[in-house]
Amino acid sequence: MNRQVLHQIAVSNDHLKNGNMATTTPPFKSILLPFVIMFCSMTLTSQEHSNGYIGIRLAGNDFSGTTRHDLDDTEIKFDKRTNIEILGARRISQGLLIRVSVGYTQVEEKRLYVNYDYRHSGVYTRIGIVADSELDTRFALHPGLALYYAKFAERGTYTLTGQSFGDLTGQVRRGLHAFSLEPHLDLRLRLMQRLALQTSFKYNWLLTRSKPDSHPVIHIPGRGMKDVGLDLSLVYQF
């Protein structure tokens, strides 16, 4: 039987289902980043010293957001997103500090794909060194280099609809990891005697990561899916 005839039979039948047509929308990239970084760098004119600090990440973003896949620039906003990160640094010499951060991320997205609900949780850590620049009492500038490692789990539930025999649901579970090198530039602004705001501009260069067979990796904790990112933290200096 040829395929044309089969289609004619199929489209005329009464039991059949919703068409499997999927729709996505393409995006525009932000071009402001280099200009704003340049502007920000030009505002730095001073110096400060401390033996170290501890802090907590308040906010952050990977610049272009997370997308469903490489060919689709529609950003995923995530129905639920939690990111907790603490960080600290300790002076090890006159011009160097060792910097460590650990974090936990959890995100959820219903209908990540047309018939797939997605959940993600994972931990990550960064360890590296930062240079202590000679700025004034209010500003500190710390260019640094860190090793980044993340271990995370993605879980999802797919549903194939069955109008006659019932729906079929199944689970996807997979453990993943990522390892990268992360040059960053920390800009710290003292608010009070020991309290400061710190912004970290970072470029996360992925060296290796899991490449699972099923759907693409959606989110890497503490990093997102884009190489360039920005964090804002509140730190206590000592």
Binding site: M21, T25, P26, V36, C40, G65, Y158, L168
Partner: protein, 177 residues
């Protein structure tokens, strides 16, 4: 300090530019119950109703007469269960019934971000429960890529809630009995 905070939020917002643009459409394999086409080659089916084990639905016993090139016969599209590895149809006629039962392997996998998870059936085989013996299975695969519409089919034949061209078709040919 104000400049510092403004700079941070400017950068944060810069990362949140989202988009607009034209939609793109893709064809997908089955993400719901696949379609079988039961095809009688030599005799006009005289059934008045079709039932399926595991479903509370029933279908008319009417089969469409189809003729294309060297092919003639009577055919009807029916759903295949995705919650079991066996589908059994019961073709009822006055005073008796025929049974068509077949097994298969369900291959459920992630097809693409646009399509999500889809199912294909493999290794279709007749079971002993069938009253038909001369049965042949043929799989007409949907490519998952945008198909060209067969000649003769217009958009009127392809409403939104209908069979989609990317889907597979599982043809079950029943010959001489």
């Amino acid at each position: 300090m104000i400049m510092f905070i403004c700079t941070f939020f400017t950068l944060l917002i810069a990362g949140d530019f989202s988009s607009c643009g034209g939609a793109r459409t893709v064809a997908c394999e089955d993400r719901d119950e696949p379609t079988s086409v039961v095809h009688f080659t030599n005799k006009t089916p005289d059934y008045w109703r079709v039932l399926a084990v595991g479903s509370d639905k029933s279908w008319s016993g009417h089969f469409d007469h189809v003729e294309s090139g060297t092919y003639t016969g009577w055919a009807k599209a029916l759903p295949v269960s995705i919650v079991a590895d066996t589908t059994t149809y019961i073709f009822e006629r006055a005073g008796s019934a025929d049974t068509l039962s077949f097994t298969y392997v369900r291959d459920i996998r992630f097809e693409s971000p646009d399509c999500g998870f889809t199912v294909t059936l493999q290794e279709l085989r007749l079971t002993e429960a069938s009253t038909f013996r001369d049965v042949e299975f043929t799989v007409h695969t949907g490519t998952g890529r945008a198909p060209s519409r067969p000649e003769g089919l217009t958009t009127a034949h392809l409403p939104a809630a209908s069979f989609h061209l990317g889907n597979n078709i599982y043809q079950i040919t029943i010959g001489d009995e």
